[in-house]
């Protein structure tokens, strides 16, 4: 009888907890969808400030604006964390054409890759050799590459349902193409834009010269997908065409910038820190609405939604707007470094950096025990059409916080349209839907609430 009573009490506790959680999630979603601030903040970031390349005036304006907004939210603490960031500048607009016969030219849309060197002031004109990836360079050898422009043209695999997987399968061309082609004496490199679409917009993005000495670095640019198709077709008809491009981008001295941070101090475990964040910098071609203005304003709204919905967190909840994800990850690294120096105990971090589209779920980088625990919350998210709880990556900026105990997570929105806009001139405010953005903020706040309420499972320290 006593056992039965205990069992009934336990059942009743579980049912009550569940219905309390249901109510709290409903409150969070109602607040996000009727009094969310994410969309207004994004409007300002995108339309009043614009693209926020690290080291730019706009990046500093964004630091100031978001700090002011956090200050107005009645948080327990708001501060700026200094960090030195690279300052790469695009310079005057890039220009490119190919020449089928001398004097007969066709313009194609290009943009310099972030971190690339400039061409010589008069531009670079050379024969072109098309490859489907870095692995093709070996087969061609120096003889067929030297003095030419290498054109990396492996497209996205459209059969992959996640466009991020398609991106992962191509982006080595953009990131390492110039360094690798340079080893064979290439004079320059052009890469097909990392995009799911056929259109006229070039997509920029980070590249690295690796260990290449400065004097051996070759200029690198992205060409629009339609430009790439045209170039490839023309090359098949006439392999002797010349390609010309001109860009005068430049890597300047590092400058000082900031991570923007605000927190609600935990009522019970103030020393257990939960981070929610996105990155405040963006590329310069669009206004960085999806990448990653969306993630910043959603993260800011997570703290506001918890307050508005009347929840008092047990743990310290900290919003971090990281500086310089795109071309350096300096903000993410600095944040983790300072956290370590201060011996801060980070138990959870969640990043939104995959666009402001309808949220489909989360990916988790965590222990099996924590993943199992999280699976138990899936049914709470079902009414909100959140269905993907997967093991996988989290976010670039929170990656440096990784340790065996921490639970890292990333918001996973619908990915179909992300690479239509990613790093291109059309990553702009009008392509973000208000409700989709707000649903993302609500999903994030809901997860933060649950992790705060139920805690994470500590990993047993193994004695060595």
């Amino acid at each position: 009888m006593k056992k039965l009573l205990m069992f009934l009490c336990l059942v009743s506790f579980c049912v009550n907890a569940q219905s309390e959680d249901e109510k709290q999630l409903r409150n969070i979603y109602d607040a996000a969808l009727t009094q969310g601030k994410a969309y207004d903040w994004l409007n300002y970031l995108s339309n009043q400030i614009g693209g926020r390349l690290s080291g730019s005036v706009q990046a500093e304006q964004a630091v100031e604006y978001t700090k002011t907004q956090l200050d107005s939210m009645g948080l327990d603490r708001v501060w700026l964390q200094p960090v030195m960031v690279p300052k790469w500048v695009r310079g005057t607009p890039e220009f490119a054409y190919f020449e089928s016969t001398p004097g007969v030219t066709t313009n194609v849309p290009i943009c310099a890759l972030g971190g690339s060197v400039a061409t010589k002031p008069g531009g670079l004109k050379a024969n072109i050799v098309e490859v489907q990836g870095i692995e093709d360079l070996v087969a061609l050898g120096r003889e067929k590459i030297e003095g030419k422009i290498v054109f990396f043209n492996r497209p996205f695999d459209q059969t992959l349902i996640s466009t991020f997987e398609a991106y992962s399968g191509c982006v080595d061309q953009r990131y390492s193409g110039a360094a690798e082609a340079g080893k064979y004496g290439a004079a320059g490199m052009i890469v097909r834009s990392m995009s799911s679409r056929l259109d006229d917009l070039p997509h920029t993005g980070a590249m690295s010269y690796g260990e290449t000495p400065i004097q051996n670095r070759i200029p690198a640019a992205a060409i629009s997908t339609k430009g790439a198709e045209l170039l490839s077709t023309t090359l098949k008809l006439n392999p002797e065409i010349k390609f010309y491009f001109k860009q005068n981008c430049e890597q300047l001295e590092d400058v000082k910038s900031f991570n923007v941070i605000g927190e609600i101090t935990g009522s019970t475990y103030p020393n257990e820190i939960m981070v929610v964040g996105g990155h405040l910098d963006s590329w310069d071609l669009g206004d960085g609405s999806h990448d990653d203005g969306a993630g910043c304003v959603q993260s800011m709204d997570v703290l506001r939604l918890l307050k508005v919905s009347g929840y008092k967190p047990q743990r310290t909840i900290r919003v971090v707007l990281f500086m310089n994800e795109e071309n350096g990850l300096r903000g993410g690294n600095e944040y983790a470094k300072v956290a370590k120096e201060k011996n801060e105990n980070h138990v959870f971090a969640l990043e939104s950096d995959a666009g402001g589209f309808t949220p489909r779920g989360f990916s988790f980088d965590c222990s099996a025990a924590n993943f199992e625990k999280i699976q138990g919350w899936k049914n709470l998210f079902e009414p909100y059409l959140i269905h993907m709880f997967v093991k996988g990556g989290s976010g670039a900026d929170i990656g440096p916080l990784k340790n065996p105990d921490i639970l890292l997570a990333g918001l996973r929105p619908d990915s179909q349209r992300y690479f239509d806009h990613h790093h291109a001139a059309n990553d702009t405010f009008e392509h973000v839907n208000k409700r989709e953005l707000e649903l993302g903020a609500a999903a994030m706040a809901s997860l933060v609430y649950l992790v705060d309420k139920y805690g994470v499972v500590p990993v047993k320290k193994i004695k060595r």
Copy 2:
């Protein structure tokens, strides 16, 4: 031992069937994402033809174009099914303003509702009374309504996750508002546009005067959501403002049009018919890309994808492009009527009429036994992020086919952006994403394949 062997054989059969199905779905998706034709067809329908209001030249062009395309697909049979459809025309652009003080006017965007009568040639000017729904009319009574324009202004409930639910909660105002307000002597009616967004676009849509005699019908128009907000605010400041609007739409005589039909004859059960379809007509303000060009081209591609992926259906698979869903449902009714007359055995029908967005799942209108059977296929769809298999409606055009045996289904795409475009001038091609559209076609073809392969569960006929 014998039992064990039988069990092992059964397990092996199930596993093989499962992996054969996995392979077939993969083939369908690969074909849709790399050689789908839906997007090209939609481009033609939207950009070469445009809005396809029943009875319009464009609707007839769409009949001709889609028939030609079906003819070119190597189907077993393609034909046109005649149907008389209503012909309502908008006439010259509508015009509206409100007058705060005599001579001081503010223009607001409106459009006539489909089926509305015109105002008198000089337009209608009257005082305005705002209500939050039809139920408010009783409380106001004839005294406060007579001679005035009734302004229905209940907005979408933004807390609902499905925008279709929000639409359902408001659309009675648009559909029946004029008939109901007319009973109290109203001179006209204006309804807040059925939209999730705040913007300047009026959204048209069907309305009905019910039993109202012709001479008592009052003109009805939709006002943009921002117009509605402005009007409501102004009314609070000054309830005596006058509202003016002018429209010269007209209901003409019915004209002849067609359902466009094509089929692959079943190899084993040619008399069991499976329908997949959308509606070819649209409203006239945009080009009808989401509503329902998308559903038409997806349905056409279902038959092509099955062919391309090498599947030979056992049952007859029929694509039906229904005419006149928007303002009459004549095509759907005619199709069901003819099917009954011919004693055709329809076992399954699937409609896509909720936009060309990322598919999230299907809703089913069917017996419990069939729903249970379908649930067993859920895991096959998981790799494609199809997660919603719900009981509920299917589609307006296939509704008339309903009987206890048939399995009716509707594609359920992500709904967040649907009512940003629905029946408005921005329901246009550039708002349809190629991959999202193709994923919908692939999901539909996959369901058709599974239903064809495994059949539906017949309902036991109960003797009376």
